[in-house]
């Protein structure tokens, strides 16, 4: 199983998903992020999905859960870089991405976490 790397920069954990996500990989990412939040005390999580071609109901639910888990560590989660076709498909699928905020790109996501917007 592949793993998604987590980078800590300042008070923020950055995750950029560059692989075709298997269910196991997303669940592993959830566990790794919880461990990392507990170990570092980071205040925010940015998940870049620029390279993600589809978000189905399982992946969407896992992203929401990452947001909920992060809240328990007093950290906010921002999903950035969603492709237009993914946004249209997610909406038609009827999937609410609760528990996370979204932003156009990593820069805007960081502004949200830093309270600039």
């Amino acid at each position: 199983m592949e793993r998604v790397p987590i980078l800590k920069i300042g008070q923020t954990l950055f995750v950029s998903i560059q692989i075709d996500l298997q269910d196991d990989t997303v669940m592993r990412l959830q566990e790794d992020l919880a461990d990392e939040l507990a170990a570092t005390g980071a205040r925010g999580v940015i998940i870049d999905i620029t390279a993600v071609e589809i978000v189905d109901s399982f992946i969407g639910r896992m992203l929401s859960m990452i947001g909920s888990i992060s809240r328990l560590f007093d950290a906010d989660t921002v999903i950035v870089g969603m492709r237009p076709a993914v946004a249209i498909t997610l909406t038609e699928l009827g999937l609410p991405l609760t528990g996370v905020r979204t932003a156009l790109n990593a820069e805007k996501g960081l502004e949200i976490l830093n309270g600039k917007s």
Binding site: D20, Q22, D24, E53, I54, V55, D56, T89, L93, G94
Partner: protein, 131 residues
Amino acid sequence: MDEVQIQSGNDVVRVRQQVRVVAAQNGLSLVDQTKLVTAASELARNTLVHGGGGVAKIEAVKSGNGRAGVKLQFSDEGPGIADIDLALTDGWTTGSGLGLGLSGSRRLVDEFQLNSKPGAGTSVVVVKWSR
């Protein structure tokens, strides 16, 4: 026609990749490709998780008036579905999911046909047409 066996999470990814290739080759727009691949991901996962594994068939098709499309068939020999109408209801789930797999994937395609009986497995056929 391509056939992909679905026995692991990695096979679900292979189904997605193969559907993407065939959809792109047959003139589906990027949005329609994404919708079909997303539906394929939901249905392949159902085949794996609820059907205990099975097979996906991916086929380029032509409509009566010459429109290109892609037809997918997912078959398993699992326990089957007792109440198909209920299974197609938004939010209905046997597991811990959101219950959007079947109902959501039906919204993402142009044609959707589900055949199942308790004890006799499940077959789902979907078609997405180019515009």
